[in-house]
Symmetry: C2
Subunit: 142 residues, 2 copies
């Protein structure tokens, strides 16, 4: 059981492994593997590569991400805020104004979510084609 400090450090460095059920990274993976998370990060990150924060208001996000209910949008934003991926800024104007923006951490994930969205759009036809042929290859079908 005796381990050197170097060994222990190396172990801690590779400590997180999403293949392990008990690993916290599994939960994190579950969180970011979410339709709304991907779309929110995509919306907030679009056009922000140049460094401009691209802050979006709550209603702007809701408009951009068609079909999202206020509940899910709020829930998603809250979890992202808690995890340090987005910032929430409240401006106490008369009709209160709330704007959201990506943090550096969020930006680092945005690239992936954008690719994910792009993949879904780019390969939609291929998947659709496969679904159409699937199931009839086995001769099954009543």
């Amino acid at each position: 059981m005796t381990r050197t400090a170097a060994q222990r450090r190396a172990e801690e460095k590779a400590a997180y492994n999403a293949f392990f059920a008990a690993c916290p990274s599994r939960q994190l993976l579950d969180r970011i593997s979410d339709k709304w998370v991907v779309l929110v990060l995509c919306a907030l990150g679009e056009g922000a590569e140049d460094g401009s924060p691209r802050t979006l208001r709550y209603s702007e996000l809701a408009r951009r991400i068609a079909g999202v209910s206020p509940k899910m949008l709020t829930q998603t934003l809250r979890s992202l805020e808690q995890d340090g991926l987005v910032t929430r800024t409240v401006v106490p104007t008369v009709p209160v104004t709330v704007s959201y923006a990506l943090t550096d951490l969020g930006s680092s994930l945005h690239g992936l979510t954008r690719s994910l969205r792009a993949w879904a759009q780019d390969h939609m036809d291929a998947v659709l084609a496969h679904r159409a042929t699937a199931g009839r290859a086995a001769g099954g079908g009543s």
Copy 2:
């Protein structure tokens, strides 16, 4: 790259856009934004960059992805097979043997899932730190 505004409009209109609720790519995005999908693709794709298919048996997958129930594993594999991301090969040995492997389509997504898993593992500490400070920011920290 010179495109008229009309051409660009037509192109955007025709393309899949996950921001639209009715767009099929929204459903596809929802499908691939799944914990088990990510882990299965990660498991099947590991070490397959050189072209070796890296086929895994059902039980091997189950062992690798700790904590997955047979139900979820089968369900995930079926959906991936239907969408043309993995192939399912049955070898009629006495104890029947079933192996799974990524298709080209699946391989194209594997890079993203691997990055996703890596992101979760790499930024776990940062997220954990943020969660710890979240909520107590208003009352000062300890």
